[in-house]
């Protein structure tokens, strides 16, 4: 029976090649995106799920609130670590660690020198009690108990001590930063499963002082927070979390920043569960300092929606085509029933066909999945692949998906088909009021609504992206580039030498020294106080560092006052927003006033024009530019490449040569401002990329669905068309007659899609301070485009039908 069903199913699939093809392709596109997106989502949920007691591991993070803004910091003040070490009720284990890096590591015995000392932390034995590493050599209990002890990961150990046994490595000595002898006390295996804990060098925490780190035992800076200072802990049980949190709240209050400017600020200590770390919590902060990826719940959710909709589109196709086909198969069902088939057997047979088609579609989608994944490679984290699909879990998931999709898309058609009465269908009298019509139309409208929403969304997101990337930020971003000197090598002499070498390069102009570029992701901010009429205003202000040419390099004009006298004088040039923020109606009047920084009185000597310091998501913030004082020096050299692009390569080569001659050991690159600006919008760009794909696929599936429906409908109307032709209708009239019905559906879909997409885009644009207009023409263009596409699909078929010779269509059997 089963075999027989399968055989019949297979043959009827072959018999209806076009329908089967549309079914399989439509479904496999939906399935393919579901699989790929499923793998992406699974990937992000698979991080750090393998630790023992993972549900009891938490991290303490800081959240700063100031003037309505929130600034998360994944680290904590160092004294908090001490407090926890001394014991907090409900905490079973405290494991603090600090990010660190080493400039030089030498294996004197084998005469090897290494430079990338990143991914290193200062940790103590508690770290290894908290996270269960596999120890290849050394003693887990005491490996980090003394100063100048280090545990290496297997890969690191193999690198530092090539061709040596793990057990032989323990006891060897490494020379760090030219002067610190450190004993290797253990080797642990690298985690094989997905993890954010990508540390591979564990220096004992008690050696912090040797590496200019902060000492937990003595440090008393409750108001300094570095994101690398991590405090992990294991709670006794779930119920102790609340108690620990209230203790944290009390500690935050007790050690509130006493400075007057911070009076309205607030700092919170928060407990973050291990499982939340990969998703960065509410602020989507990166998991650790050395992480290159944070999973965004928002992105994952939208991905899941895209997958769901594409899958539903595929299913809609299926239902549509199969129930449409029902009538052509009515005869077969009639015969089967007269031969004794029960309703159940008919349902089973058609569900069987659906299962076969779905399975075929799944196979196809598994073949296509790697290609689709590659399309998204640009914005996917490293290390993601589809191997999960072939694991036991993945296969079970796929089987469940196949069953669900089969039921979803096969049940209705099977049900409709099984209800036919043999006596009527065998006489060739199909019921005139074909009940499935309304459902099929609804499904088609649904498909086109989804496709249309995708189209409009893609156009508007792309428009917004074009808008923000091309709007004038108020600074020269096209021709300016800069180089960053290595922070480890703070030698002023070298910086000066580099500066003068670059200054001499032909074609470069306005070479200046400074800190970060005026628009960047990094910022430093301080609190300036201003007295007026006996009132003191505290104004959080972003600080830019640059010499007196800096503003010229970036084409930022002075609107009033003058540039600072020299690079190290305590003078400010502020922007218009700052002037307005401290209460000047006319920003120009700010020149000549004095602001206070802690105890220092600093005069404002000039006013610069406003420009965007960050992406156009955010507003322009109050800003001041200062020179270097307090012995701090500039880290970056900025220059204008000039108006002649042909010269650029030559100039850049010259800059790179200068870099190589001054810093032969470092790999430094020229950074371009336009790339920086592009970088602001990376996530928008990936959104556009994703939407483009989703749109293309949605249109493809919907058009296939439409085609199926058109084929079916026109076939049913062949007789009617024959009669009309005999009565004198011409080709154009017939085409119009046949197309009208479908164009109405596309029109309805458009009417539904416009408000939906308008709302969604409105929501999406919220995060931008600068928005493009939601022009009516975007909606029109997408609507017209959809009609044209639909018309092409419909027309191809109706033209053929309208051309059929009525003699043939009207001939009776």
């Amino acid at each position: 029976m089963l075999l027989n069903n399968l055989k019949i199913a297979w043959r009827s699939i072959l018999k209806n090649k076009l329908f089967s093809l549309i079914n399989v392709i439509g479904l496999s596109i939906g399935l393919c995106s579901a699989l790929v997106i499923g793998a992406i989502i699974y990937f992000d949920f698979s991080f750090d799920t393998f630790h023992k007691d993972k549900d009891r591991i938490y991290r303490v993070t800081s959240l700063f609130k100031s003037e309505g803004d929130e600034f998360p910091n994944r680290g904590v003040a160092v004294p908090l670590m001490r407090t926890f070490r001394e014991g907090i009720p409900g905490v079973e284990l405290t494991a603090p660690f600090m990010n660190t890096s080493f400039s030089k590591i030498e294996n004197k015995k084998q005469d090897l020198l290494f430079k990338d000392g990143n991914d290193a932390i200062l940790a103590d034995d508690a770290y290894f009690q908290l996270f269960d590493y596999e120890w290849l050599a050394g003693d887990k209990q005491t490996a980090l108990s003394e100063p100048a002890q280090v545990v290496l990961s297997q890969k690191k150990a193999e690198k530092y001590f090539p061709h040596k046994n793990m057990t032989d490595i323990v006891g060897s000595t490494l020379l760090y930063n030219d002067s610190i002898n450190v004993k290797v006390t253990g080797v642990v295996a690298d985690f094989e499963k997905n993890t954010d804990l990508k540390f591979n060098e564990f220096m004992s925490l008690s050696s912090a002082k040797m590496f200019n780190g902060k000492d937990i035992a003595t440090n008393d800076r409750w108001n300094g927070t570095s994101s690398g200072d991590q405090l992990f802990l294991r709670v006794k049980d779930e119920s102790s979390v609340a108690g620990i949190q209230s203790r944290l709240d009390a500690l935050a209050k007790e050690h509130k920043n006493p400075a007057t400017w911070a009076a309205n600020d607030e700092r919170l200590f928060q407990l973050q569960a291990l499982s939340d770390i990969h998703f960065g919590g509410e602020h989507e902060d990166y998991p650790f300092n050395n992480s290159d990826h944070v999973a965004s719940m928002k992105v994952l959710k939208s991905l899941a929606f895209v997958a769901l909709f594409l899958l539903l589109l595929g299913c809609a196709n299926f239902i549509n085509l199969n129930s449409a086909q029902a009538l052509t198969r009515a005869k077969e069902i009639g015969i089967r029933k007269t031969l004794g088939s029960s309703k159940k057997q008919v349902v089973r047979q058609f569900l069987g066909e659906t299962v076969i088609l779905t399975t075929m579609a799944t196979m196809l989608s598994l073949l296509m999945a790697p290609f689709l994944l590659r399309q998204f490679a640009d914005f996917l984290p490293q290390g993601i692949d589809l191997s999960v699909l072939y694991s036991v879990k993945g296969i079970i998931g796929i089987v469940i998906l196949v069953v669900l999709v089969s039921l979803l898309s096969g049940f209705y058609p099977a049900f409709v088909l099984s209800k036919f009465r043999p006596a009527t269908v065998l006489k060739g009298q199909f019921t005139k009021g074909d009940k499935g019509v309304r459902l099929r139309k609804t499904l088609t409208v649904f498909q086109f609504v989804v496709a249309q929403v995708f189209v409009i969304a893609t156009l508007l997101v792309a428009k917004q992206l074009h808008f923000v990337m091309n709007s004038d930020m108020g600074i020269n971003t096209e021709t300016v580039a800069y180089v960053r000197t290595p922070w480890r090598d703070a030698s002023k002499v070298k910086k000066e030498r580099l500066f003068f070498q670059i200054k001499d390069i032909e074609g470069l102009s306005n070479v200046s020294k400074g800190g970060a570029p005026p628009a960047s992701n990094s910022m430093s901010s301080t609190m300036l106080s201003y007295f007026k009429d006996g009132n003191e205003t505290h104004q959080p202000t972003e600080i830019l560092m640059g010499d007196t040419t800096y503003l010229k390099t970036y084409g930022i004009p002075l609107l009033a006052g003058r540039e600072r006298m020299n690079d190290s004088i305590d003078e400010y040039v502020v922007n218009e927003t700052f002037a307005r923020a401290i209460g000047f109606q006319d920003p120009k009047e700010v020149v000549g006033t004095v602001v206070k920084l802690d105890t220092l009185q600093i005069p404002i000597v000039g006013l610069m024009r406003d420009f965007n310091q960050r992406s156009l998501r955010s507003d322009i913030k109050p800003l001041a530019i200062k020179g270097h004082y307090n012995g701090m020096s500039f880290t970056n050299i900025h220059f204008d490449l000039g108006k002649n692009p042909e010269q650029w390569t030559k100039s850049i080569d010259a800059v790179e040569q200068a870099l190589a001659s001054v810093y032969p050991d470092e790999e430094l690159e020229v950074q371009f401002m336009d790339e920086m600006v592009e970088g602001f919008y990376r996530s928008e760009k990936s959104t556009v990329q994703l939407l483009k794909w989703a749109t293309g696929l949605a249109i493809l599936i919907s058009c296939m669905g439409l085609m199926g429906l058109v084929v079916y409908t026109t076939e049913r109307r062949v007789k009617e068309i024959g009669v009309r032709k005999v009565l004198g209708a011409n080709l154009a009239q017939l085409n119009l007659l046949l197309c009208k019905e479908f164009l109405i559906l596309v029109g309805i879909a458009f009417a539904i899609a416009v408000p939906i997409s308008w709302y969604l885009i409105q929501e999406w644009m919220q995060e931008f301070a600068y928005k493009t207009s939601l022009s009516w023409w975007v909606f029109m263009v997408s609507g017209v485009g959809m009609v044209v596409v639909a018309l092409a699909v419909i027309g191809a078929r109706t033209y053929r039908t309208a051309n059929i010779n009525p003699v043939e269509s009207l001939r009776n059997e």
Binding site: K15, G334, R336, L339, G340, A423, E813
Partner: protein, 220 residues
């Protein structure tokens, strides 16, 4: 007695009017009879056949088949009943296009849940009996009309029905083919199968032992 129809009425409502398809049909069929139903187009011949074959319902009256009252049976029982005792032969053969001759013959046996080995034997037997062994792997489209109808009859017979209902079995055939089919029916009838056929042709009707004439749903 094989079956008995008492005061069968069947109607449809059209434009506020009741149109009778069958009107007061009383019919008794004994086992071993060969009945021909005749009448002009639209007189209710096929409807009567469908009612007898339990493919169609009726609105009034009683229908007893082998002492079971069909009118009070649930659909499932009804389908079990005709699955077991009735075979159908159609004017346009109604073979399943995507199945081979052999598979078409096998179909009713599958629905009767007969075991695979037994099915094979029965199909082979039937192929043999109808001399179509050479055609067993062909699809219906590869056969002539007469051969298709031959397969149709074979399929109707394969489950050893007591009654064969044939709706203009020769309607789509030429005279020679038609004659062959009718000869076959006669032979089957001689072997004890009850046959009810609908036909337009006086000549074919002559093969039957009894002729029922219908006009506007009434027996005349």
């Amino acid at each position: 007695m094989l079956l008995q129809l008492n005061d069968i009425f069947k109607w449809v409502n059209s434009g506020g009017q009741r149109i009778f398809l069958l009107k007061d049909i009383n019919l008794e069929v004994e086992e071993g009879e060969f009945i021909s139903v005749m009448g002009p187009s639209g007189s209710g011949k096929s409807t009567l056949l469908n009612v007898i074959g339990m493919l169609d319902t009726f609105d009034e009256g009683e229908y007893n088949f082998l002492d079971e009252s069909v009118h009070s049976l649930k659909e499932k029982h009804r389908s079990n009943l005709y699955k077991q005792y009735i075979g159908f032969v159609f004017q346009s053969y109604h073979l399943l296009d995507e199945l081979t001759v052999k598979e078409n013959l096998e179909m009713p046996l599958i629905y009767k849940k007969i075991k695979g080995s037994e099915r094979k034997a029965m199909v082979a037997d039937m192929l043999d009996r109808f001399n179509i062994v050479g055609k067993k792997d062909l699809f219906p489209a590869q056969l002539s009309g007469g051969q298709q109808q031959l397969v149709g009859v074979a399929r109707a017979l394969i489950a050893n029905p007591k009654l064969i209902l044939a709706d203009e079995p020769t309607g789509n055939l030429n005279s020679t083919q038609g004659e062959e089919i009718m000869e076959l029916f006669k032979q089957l009838n001689d072997e004890g199968v009850t046959i009810i056929q609908v036909t337009h042709s006086e000549k074919n009707a002559e093969y039957g032992s009894r002729i029922i004439n219908l006009l506007d749903g009434r027996m005349v």
